[in-house]
């Protein structure tokens, strides 16, 4: 492996890295000051567009393109929402950026607001990040005092207010329209789209929602340029006109059964195996991996044989996973029962479904009940077909739900049953020797620890 110098994480571990002085000493805010003087908002959109940057929040939508969906010559206000709800199991890169280098994030926010002509930005932070809150608030205060936020920034005529807004421990607030509803003071029920937020978003005004890591990338593109960004990662497939490529560095979160869990920066396209063996020091205790989550629990599972899959935006999809997601890689070693894994996954989604769409509310709840029953030694082979049916029918892809949470719930079910069916069958036959073949309806068991 060639050694790759971290850029987004360059300040991690440096004493005082969260301060304005430290950020300035690394060249921070100079690009912002230059662009505010020399460039128009449209130029900044063009810069980000030509870099090929795709959103780091999970969907991988091209950032510059998203900005061009805002109405032209809108009288305003236009809002920028920064998504720091970061609740996808396995994911913690936003936390590290906010805690260790909040000014890098804020420079990206100011640049993005300038590009989109937003004059108010809200940073929606999950409740569980008190340290991020303190670091961000400290950095925002410093930025106001230095004339980098507020009225007439650096004499450019551009003004921006940036406010922190705290969530209340609900995963669905990370879905962009759930976030918007939550910010408006309502229950975080995702909206039916269209209209997309760019047309009608926060407070019914044009709105851009972007992830924290996306903001950090914008700051680095402004500092290092488009050519630098495009020199990293995986270029667009020339034979696929719909592939925008996977450019730039990416923060991969590595956790579960690895020797050295952590957040590692690597070029988009590193393989799961390179990450686990190279950065993570291998599967812990010298064991083998049974399965690996490629990008947060919603993305499904890679088998050991699929670990050479490149983790770029196109890679995981080629082996039946939902996508790159948040690039959170979770290693599950050979001693873990896949039944227990799927139970854990189903419990998460049953807990986090907002309940608006019947297929998601019922599908997540019933998949959990079935896994509870299977683990209680009352599984039947027929349950596997029922689970697969739930997996195949709930979600935006089959077109039965409002948001992608249901797809995220479906993919681990589909992948686990398809890729590990033999293990499920063995488990069910072993634990329910007298009933595994039953196909009549069976009563559900009471649920422990879920609501």
């Amino acid at each position: 492996m060639t050694t790759f110098q971290p850029v987004l994480l360059e300040a991690v571990g440096v004493a005082g890295s969260h301060t304005l002085a430290s950020y300035r000493s690394r060249g921070g805010y100079a690009p912002l000051e230059r662009l505010l003087k020399e460039k128009q908002p449209a130029d900044v959109i063009e810069l980000v567009k030509s870099s090929g940057l795709r959103g780091r929040g999970g969907a991988g939508f091209p950032t510059g393109l998203k900005w061009t969906f805002l109405p032209k010559d809108h009288p305003g206000p236009i809002y920028l929402c920064i998504n720091a709800d970061e609740s996808e199991p396995g994911t913690f890169n936003n936390r590290i950026l906010m805690e260790d280098d909040p000014h890098q994030v804020i420079e990206g926010i100011i640049l993005s607001a300038y590009a989109t002509r937003a004059t108010t930005a809200y940073l929606y932070l999950r409740y569980e990040y008190p340290q991020s809150w303190d670091r961000l608030q400290g950095a925002i205060d410093e930025a106001y005092a230095a004339g980098l936020l507020g009225k007439n920034i650096q004499g450019s005529g551009f003004s921006l207010d940036l406010y922190l807004h705290r969530g209340a421990a609900a995963y669905i607030c990370g879905e962009e329209t759930g976030l918007i509803e939550s910010l408006e003071g309502k229950r975080a029920w995702p909206r039916i789209k269209p209209p997309f937020p760019a047309i009608e978003g926060l407070f019914r005004k044009p709105t851009v929602v972007n992830n924290i890591e996306t903001m950090a990338c914008v700051a680095q593109i402004a500092r290092r340029g488009v050519d630098w960004f495009r020199s990293i990662g995986v270029p667009a497939d020339p034979n696929n006109p719909r592939d925008p490529g996977s450019y730039g560095p990416k923060l991969y979160c590595l956790s579960g059964h690895v020797e050295r869990p952590g957040c590692y920066e690597a070029p988009l396209g590193i393989t799961a195996r390179q990450l686990i063996d190279g950065h993570g020091g291998g599967v812990w205790k010298g064991r083998k991996a049974k399965a690996v989550i490629p990008g947060g629990i919603s993305m499904g599972l890679l088998t050991e044989a699929e670990l050479d899959t490149p983790l770029d935006f196109a890679g995981p999809g080629k082996v039946g996973c939902l996508g790159l997601g948040t690039a959170a890689v979770v290693v599950i070693d050979e001693t873990v029962s896949i039944v227990d894994f799927l139970h854990n996954s189903c419990r998460f989604f049953a807990h986090e479904s907002c309940g608006q769409c019947t297929p998601c509310r019922e599908g997540t709840a019933w998949s959990l009940r079935m896994l509870e029953r299977i683990r209680a030694g009352k599984g039947r082979l027929k349950d596997l077909d029922l689970l697969a049916e739930i997996g195949n029918t709930m979600g935006m892809m089959p077109g039965s739900t409002i948001c992608g949470l249901a797809d995220g719930a479906a993919w681990p079910i589909k992948n686990a049953i398809k890729k590990f069916r033999g293990e499920f069958e063995d488990y069910i036959k072993r634990t329910n020797p007298s009933g595994w073949m039953v196909t009549d309806p069976v009563p559900a068991l009471p649920i422990v620890g879920a609501h």
Binding site: Q131, H165, G167, E184, G262, A328
Partner: protein
């Protein structure tokens, strides 16, 4: 006699009002207001919901609707002086998070979501806390407890009980 005792103190109202200029309408103050009340009282009784609604010009049902969605703000009684969230999502579960949750509850003598009789500690299961690099982990108040073991979990329960009544 009808009491006119308000739940929202003048300080709470002032903190909520200080945030008002940030938003184009008052409904957006709902979550910030609930957080402020919960920070001070460790719960948001229904009377506080009514007062928040009055302050923001909303129907109490609108505030209650939002509040109840999150399952985050206790309404019947205050949570313990320390509120601990023990992660049970995948990365923590792989490293023993569920056992740690059981162990903490056992050491505290409560079920998940319960509060100790002395009011010192509430323990709740949590979904991914975004600290999977420190699995198994727990957030207690503002403190992240990393790489928990049975021993550190027990020490945490002992400390939380010893602190009871001394913090506020």
């Amino acid at each position: 006699m009808i009491t006119t005792q308000r739940i929202l103190s003048p300080e709470m109202v002032a903190r909520i009002e200080a945030l008002a200029p940030r938003y184009p309408n008052r409904r957006a103050l709902t979550l910030p207001a609930l957080h402020i009340v919960n920070e001070v009282l460790r719960y948001v009784p229904y009377e506080a919901v009514v007062e928040v609604a009055q302050l923001l010009g909303l129907a109490p049902a609108e505030v209650q609707d939002t509040l109840s969605f999150y399952q985050f703000f206790p309404q019947d009684k205050p949570s313990g002086e320390t509120r601990a969230w023990v992660c049970r999502s995948v990365s923590c579960a792989l490293r023993g998070g569920e056992e740690i949750l059981d162990h903490i509850c056992h050491a505290a003598g409560i079920d998940p979501y319960g509060t100790t009789a002395d009011g010192s500690l509430t323990v709740e299961p949590a979904e991914c806390l975004g600290a999977c690099d420190f699995a198994p982990c727990m957030l207690a108040g503002k403190t992240l407890h990393k790489n928990l073991t049975k021993e550190s979990a027990e020490a945490f329960v002992r400390d939380a009980r010893a602190r009871a009544g001394k913090s506020s």
